[in-house]
Point group: none
Amino acid sequence: MTRPELADRRVLVVEDDPTVLEVASTYLRAAGYLVDIASDGFAALEAAANRRPDLIVLDRMLPGIDGVEVCRRIRARSAVPIILLTALSATDDRIDGLEAGADDYLTKPFSPRELVLRVQSILRRSVTDLTPEAAVVLGAFELDPSARTVRRDGRELALSVREFDLLAFLLKHPRQAFSREQLLRAVWHWEFGDLSTVTVTVRRVREKIENDPTEPAILVTVWGVGYRLDL
Amino acid sequence: MTRPELADRRVLVVEDDPTVLEVASTYLRAAGYLVDIASDGFAALEAAANRRPDLIVLDRMLPGIDGVEVCRRIRARSAVPIILLTALSATDDRIDGLEAGADDYLTKPFSPRELVLRVQSILRRSVTDLTPEAAVVLGAFELDPSARTVRRDGRELALSVREFDLLAFLLKHPRQAFSREQLLRAVWHWEFGDLSTVTVTVRRVREKIENDPTEPAILVTVWGVGYRLDL
DNA sequence: GGCCTCCGTCCGCATTTCGTAAGGTTCCGG
DNA sequence: CCGGAACCTTACGAAATGCGGACGGAGGCC
């Protein structure tokens, strides 16, 4: 269930309630992350400095230093993504947290699964800039994820951001049929939304990779299901 | 009409009230899930360990061990999604449950339809899991479930959704006779319905896989029983 | 500000799908 | 060999599905 590209990423969880700490770290480990833990503000600052986590999950209410203050101090030294946990959904808290430099927000009680999703969604973004991803060569296509280019027969294709993301995903999972919903989740990172968004982007990609876009031979329609990349 | 891609997922329902148990499992089966049941905490823990369900629906009030405790213990060993059923909508209960590691919450009395929706919504995420399903090679036939293709002698067959689902099911269970009712349940996920629906779809599949559709040699009629795939 | 690209949304149209029904054919017991 | 049940075949049309075109807001660039 773990996505290989996200493996070996380090997450620091800062939380004083042992139960919440336990649940959160279990889920994150299950999702393939290396999890460090801290129970108060001082330990959090120390761990943030020494363990160099790729992301921090931080409780707002902490013994010792307040969570928002911890967030501010970490931010002063590093750009590591921070998810703040708060007991209330009060607007003031949210504003405080965002001003202190938090990247995302989660209101307690939260679903551990949702936490994992947020973590994944944030790390997914930063993972690309850090570790250069392996290139994929498939038939006439050549994908270089770190350069964000796709070449066909050696010539580079002029793709927009969305078009690239979609084609890159399909090149990484060739000969597999995906529903529009799956693509919306995997490529757009949306949990819901208009499925025609996918349809249109597929069409635009076809316009650029198919010899005859009227008769797609590469990015094929699977009727009643979705799309598939045939090579 | 349910989506075939969700089929073959295992759900464990833990509930001491026979009526609720009956209703819930019936609805979930109708939605295409394989349903296991347990009536108390001990049975639940055992089933969770042995049957390896993809999701657990867990009553909060149980004879023997409390539901929340069961939840906690399962969670200690596995990250399987858990939906907790509770008699009250008290906020305290909700927090207890979420801290114990439940993924979602449903207040009794609940609509069975809503239960199915929650289950689907949670499992949908793990369905996005990109591990391709194993291919089946049987005689001249080659089934690739993740690409949603069937090839015969290397040539890909042009099958519609229903036709593919039916043939895929039969290829996964060859040399076994199925009644129309069984096929309607397994392939269509219908609990009732016109049996001629099956007849016609069988005929359409025959048109595409038989050398002489007039004399079926592969998708054979078992008189008075149903159909069977011979190879 | 003005121009351009990107991208999500919407609408009308063509195609495909698939359940249903109706009439014909095959099978089997007696 | 007869009658009825089981099964086959064909056809129809509503509904679902996908596609192209177009529109317009958002955001970047000059």
